[in-house]
Symmetry: C2
């Protein structure tokens, strides 16, 4: 089981990026995202996506991210995504099969995260986006298998097509 | 050589997402991004990143995206990222080694793109983000080699580290 913890986002300014982080978590096989503060519309957006596209991905609003990390520590491996971290392929090879909590920061994160994490992981050593970093980490951890996952109860389902849109309406 | 064409973004509302798309293009080995309308700050942001982190990634402002596609067609394979497309792994296996132009749309794209493209490619069949979709496509096309690329003339360079920040100042 993989969960994601989003920290450090600034409400309004980071809302769209945080929404994309949540969508990546959902589409790349995580079960839940924890967020401290949040524009309530983000939760509604994700519920609407579940309704339409299936699955039971959860947005859980929390008060204190440190409490979440402490609660998970020892049961789940704590992975902190940072451009300063160890190379993703090397880190993933060292990881065991226990559950994972992936911490996705915004621009600034408190330094203590580096100590609380079991793995500080980078996706390349160039600046890009927490959205792409999360996607590549989840892809590497699951070796691409996340794209074969089925999302139960979907209202519609896409049939991959090389030249148009094919959508099956399921209910 | 890989280039990216960003279309359909709404100025202001999509500025941060477009900036992240440009940063992913740069960090995942593309040489250039073409954009129609753009907040001039995006160009400045990317110049600042090149100055600090190296390389010569270019932002080219265009008037007409169709003209860019027509100019490239035949020399570069035209790849359109869409959640309705053919599965990325299957598409990448079919691709030749010629240059590539990757079209990254925002929410709505004109239907004719599906016809203009040589490949309509999806990264999973669930909604997520054009930022993560571009990252995974570039990763698959280059088989992870983009992360070994060096960025000449960098003012600073990160040394990957499992427990803190190591930055070498180069000039």
């Amino acid at each position: 089981m993989i969960e994601v913890l989003r920290i450090g986002q600034r409400v309004v300014r980071d809302d769209r990026v945080t929404t994309h982080v949540a969508l990546v978590a959902r589409a790349f096989g995580a079960e839940r995202i924890f967020m401290e503060e949040v524009n309530p519309r983000i939760k509604g957006t994700i519920s609407g996506i579940n309704e339409r596209w299936g699955g039971e991905f959860e947005v859980e609003i929390i008060r204190d991210w440190k409490e979440v990390v402490r609660r998970k520590k020892g049961h789940s491996k704590i992975i902190h995504l940072t451009m300063y971290g160890e190379e993703v392929d090397r880190a993933v090879r060292r990881m065991g099969s226990e559950d994972a909590l992936i911490i996705v920061g915004a621009e600034k994160v408190p330094r203590e995260i580096y100590e609380m994490a079991d793995y500080n992981v980078s996706v390349g050593s160039q600046p890009h986006s927490e959205i792409s970093a999360l996607a590549v980490l989840l892809d590497r951890m699951q070796d691409g298998r996340q794209f074969s996952k089925t999302y139960g109860g979907a209202g519609r389902r896409i049939v991959p097509s090389s030249n148009g849109k094919k959508v099956v309406v399921e209910k």
